[in-house]
Amino acid sequence: VRYELLLPSQIMIVAVMARISLDFTRGRGFFFDRRALASPALAPMTRIG
């Protein structure tokens, strides 16, 4: 590992993806909740398209 930030970053990314998989498999949890992925800050932008 050549970069001190790389391995922790990868572990964090994989951990977040694992949590997303778990939440979507169970059909509940932070990432399954609509508001988790469409935050109030993002909500106005979701009206485009």
């Binding site: 694992a18 998989s21 979507f24 498999t25 992925l37 469409a38 979701t46």
Partner: protein, 193 residues
């Protein structure tokens, strides 16, 4: 300030903008499989913006690593989103776990490797799974998007250049933009099974 590959940077940024738009637009009517595809588009946007910056301003190893990792997350999101639309439990959980395992292996491999070839291999594996899912549970735009994206990868690998200032990477990005539009149109149609 010197921009080393301006056209490649610009086409990468346009690709990133289109991907970001697709991610946000898919969240307009949130639904599980579309949200997972939104994750894929958001990761693609990150990969494109990081890649564009790498081509244009800063050829840093760390920036390239971040680009390749973002591409891996995009592959995960595409497989997860399509499996969520096509399969019911417990098969859905199996495919999600397989997509996660693929991401773990890819991330570990990319710790010690930099070649774009590995990004293409990982994305190609994801596309094979996504195409198989949507040939079974038919989704024409996604199949067309996968086919066009694959054609773009072949163009990129060939090294073909249209012009002195429009090389294989630039053409690859333009083809990927068209493929992304098709993938987005297909993702909009998805419903969870």
């Amino acid at each position: 300030m010197t921009i080393s590959e301006p056209v490649t940077m610009l086409t990468d940024y346009v690709l990133g903008g289109v991907s970001a738009y697709a991610a946000v637009a898919l969240l307009r009517k949130p639904q599980p499989s579309r949200r997972l595809w939104a994750l894929a588009f958001a990761a693609l946007a990150a990969a494109a913006f990081l890649g564009g910056t790498w081509h244009g301003f800063l050829q840093s190893d760390l920036l390239w690593k971040a680009t390749t990792l973002s591409a891996g997350v995009a592959s995960f999101g595409m497989v997860a989103g399509s499996s969520y639309a096509a399969f019911a439990p417990p098969l859905r959980a199996f495919v999600l776990t397989a997509a996660l395992a693929k991401l773990v292996v890819y991330s570990a491999w990319m710790l010690g490797h930099d070649a774009f070839l590995y990004v293409v291999i990982d994305t190609g594996m994801a596309f094979i799974i996504v195409a198989a899912i949507h040939l079974w549970k038919w989704n024409g735009p996604i199949i067309a998007g996968v086919a066009l994206s694959t054609a773009g990868a072949l163009v990129q690998a060939s090294g073909f250049r249209l012009h002195e200032h429009f090389n294989h990477n630039d053409l690859y990005h333009v083809i990927q933009i068209a493929a992304l539009v098709l993938l987005y149109r297909g993702a909009k149609r998805l419903q969870s099974s």
